[in-house]
Amino acid sequence: MDFIRHQIADGINLYLCETDKFTTLTVKVFVQNSLTAETAAANALIPMVLVQGTRSNPTRLSLAQKMENLYGSALGADVAKIGERQIMEFYFDMVAPHLIPNGDQVLAEGLATLGELITDPLVENGSFKQEYFQQEKTNLGKLVDGLINDKRAYAVWRAVKHMCKDEPFGLYKYGEREQIDQLQPEFVYQQYRRALASSPIDIFAVGPKLDQLPDMIRAWQWQRTTVQQLPPVTTKRDIREQEIHETRDVQQAVLVICCRTEQQYLSPDYYALMVANGVLGVYPHSKLFLNVREKASLAYYVGSSLEGTKGLITITAGIAPQAYQQAVDIIREQVAAMQAGSITDDELERTKIGLISGIRSMVDDPGSLIDRNLIGIVNQELRTPQTVMDSIAAVTKEQVQQAAQGIKLDTIYFLSGPKGEN
């Protein structure tokens, strides 16, 4: 189930995983950009405008009806943030050709439409169609405002923003409201042309009989110039703890603790950090779940997640406002316990088997099989599932302790209701 690489053009790679295991055929295109204050809003807007219509399917209505006729194929776009890169994502997903009448025709039409969506948009007077631009600019602004509707995501975002206020990582993947409001159509269109011509582009496909894909994709309207070199991720070593409290009308308080670490994806002991994060807070057998939820009964959800490119660990818990100090104390104790080497054989083994199972089950889902490579393309080092599993299996308790010693609390953020007493 590994991918085979084909070069499409300068800086455009196609990775194919041919298999008849799935009932679908999935293609995803990733256009990589550096995350900067100047371009974040524009890069977020571009995919939203592109899905409004292409030159030969000029409305979203005609695009949607076309997809429906292709046996309910899906065509779409979004934006992702990995480390300090902002990635435009475009996808096409169809029922596997051998399961439907005229499957090859459906594939050819679907892929041509995906190509149009990315490379051949509806252009008027040398820019995106004005109505689409204005409408999607408004929608993007509302999308960013809507972050407040998910209190947990909002709290995590606020915490990260406080921690990384001087680093690109502090930018939201959809840009900031002020930047969006100032977007001009000419600038966004130029940014689109620049990305299409010079951003690193990686295309992944999973499905049966993919031999036609390289030619189909070469036929898209690529107009490539020189490929951009994107800057590496920034890291910060001088860390001072800060506490931030914010008040909003919420029923449940959200605690977020952002930590820095000393490893990233490219560090030799990165997988020790991954295991350390697992022992701390990824699983129901992890220290945070057992101590904050099961023992102290303080939370329904509590856990930690690792951002591997920048090496950040984010801990979140939904708690009662008055439980703030107790929860922070327990979390500190658990991190300190790991740093002192309090990691049992069971914890280590269960975490490793959990991580390895997670990787093995990715190969059962076309989307995960593709998305797991994002961190690899950003760091310019793709790793096969086998390499990752072997690295995890080799991690020792001492290495986990050492990685844990690099975990430093940076920002302790608390979102609570106006009546919350802390």
């Binding site: 209505l61 429906e68 046996y71 449940q252 199972s357």
Partner: protein
């Protein structure tokens, strides 16, 4: 064991065990992951029932969900720990109609399956551990209180229905869970957790005969109490309870949902037809491929959150349409007009064909997901429908039938609105 084939030609084995438990084993060649779901026909709708010797019992809201949480606790510790040693991830959910316990794993499937069957058969409840769970569930409920999607939906069902237990949130309320005791939990457990009221579905690349033997061995030791289940269901009037309900919340922009009460069809092919036909009708009105969506989107009245769906089971049927909007009143008028217009013009047979293609495509694509397959099997089984009949039913739908559902199910006389407004 009976062998059936799915539409993608995968072998499906089926048997009803001696104790009444239906078992389905689906082989998925080439898949690493293995998946099992063990479920009981017991959900939040089962809030009132008759117990031999006790008469009619009305239980506190949220008790099925509370019991689901509690089954994870064992005298020897938490069930999560036991699955962790196999690298398996175990979980559960409670809905209106059922409680399901499930896990997925790559290795040690027989061991994990044994564990699943064992822990669901063995409740371990003490006053102390029930109290501790109250604290955890209280935080779960507070989390839902901050979730606008859940709130608008809950308000809508309360506006649509007068007495139907679908008004109750599956997890209950902070107040209602205070009344849950060990005795009540055990009473519910013994009544609803008996093999004939349950089902087991397993999916993966394994030897079905070996797995069936293991299941049978594990079922033999189950010392359940066979009792008749008499559910009590209030008579729900045809009308809606409140035509319009508004609430304020800390959100970025207003949300609008229109709900329509449908006709309850009790089981079998009629229910399946209704489910697909009405969802196709809503797709024709509210999906991105609809001119109505295009018009409302271009006028700035809706965004990508807009959509519609129809939910039906043997005890309820309702539709929901809506999403985020700057102007709930204007959207309300536009949707009502679009529904009236659609009913007047009807859906063309060309469009019905396109909608059928779309539905069939989604059905095929769903076969990639073991979770989806297993849970769909269970839901269909409990509804008295069959997941395997879906393609035949979609293909058999005629434009006339679809239009008849359109007249019956999109009934604005039986509609209610739920609106959330920013503070």
């Amino acid at each position: 064991m009976q062998l059936i084939r799915t539409i993608t030609n995968e072998p499906l084995y089926h048997e009803i065990l001696g104790n009444g438990l239906p078992v389905y084993i689906l082989q998925k060649p080439g898949f690493q992951k293995k998946y099992a779901v063990f479920a009981t026909r017991y959900g939040s709708l089962d809030s009132e029932f008759e117990v031999a010797g006790r008469g009619i019992v009305k239980v506190p809201d949220g008790i099925a969900h509370f019991l689901e949480h509690k089954l994870f606790e064992e005298e020897e510790g938490h069930v999560f720990q036991r699955f962790a040693q196999f690298g398996a991830s175990v979980n559960a959910y409670t809905s209106y109609n059922l409680t399901a316990y499930l896990f997925s794993t790559i290795e040690y499937f027989p061991e994990a399956l044994t564990e699943l069957l064992r822990f669901v058969q063995n409740p371990y409840l003490t006053a102390e551990n029930v109290d501790k769970e109250r604290g955890i569930i209280e935080q779960e409920l507070r989390m839902y209180d901050d979730n606008p999607s859940r709130k608008i939906y809950r308000n809508l069902l309360n506006a649509l229905y007068h007495k139907h237990p679908i008004r109750i949130d599956v997890s209950g309320t902070v107040e209602s869970i205070q009344d849950i005791t060990v005795d009540l939990l055990l009473e519910c457990y013994h009544l609803f957790y008996q093999p004939a009221n349950m089902a087991l579905v397993v999916i993966g690349d394994f030897d079905p005969h070996q797995i069936m033997d293991l299941i049978k061995a594990q079922m033999e030791s189950w010392n359940y109490q066979a009792q008749e289940i008499k559910r009590i269901f209030p008579d729900e009037p045809d009308t809606v309870c409140k035509p319009w309900f508004e609430q304020r919340m800390n959100i970025s922009q207003p949300r609008y949902y229109l709900g329509l009460k449908g006709t309850v069809r009790h089981s079998g092919r009629e229910l399946l037809k209704q489910q697909f036909a009405v969802n196709m009708i809503w797709h024709s009105l509210a999906a991105k491929s609809s001119p109505v969506f295009e018009r409302l989107y271009n006028s700035g009245l809706i965004n990508d959150s807009f959509g519609a769906s129809f939910q039906a089971a043997p005890r309820y049927a309702f539709s929901v349409i809506g999403g985020e909007t700057e102007d709930p009143d204007k959207l309300d008028a536009a949707i009502r007009e679009a529904i009236t217009e659609l009913k007047r013009k009807q859906i063309s047979s060309d469009l019905v064909e396109r909608l059928k293609r779309q539905s069939l495509g989604s059905y095929f694509a769903a076969h990639n997901s073991l979770d989806y397959l297993a849970n769909s099997f269970i839901v269909h089984l409990f509804n008295g429908t069959s997941f395997l009949d879906v393609p035949k039913v979609i293909e058999s739908l005629t434009a006339d039938e679809v239009n008849q559902f359109l007249q019956e199910e999109l009934d604005l006389e039986r509609s209610a609105v739920s609106v959330l407004l920013p503070e």
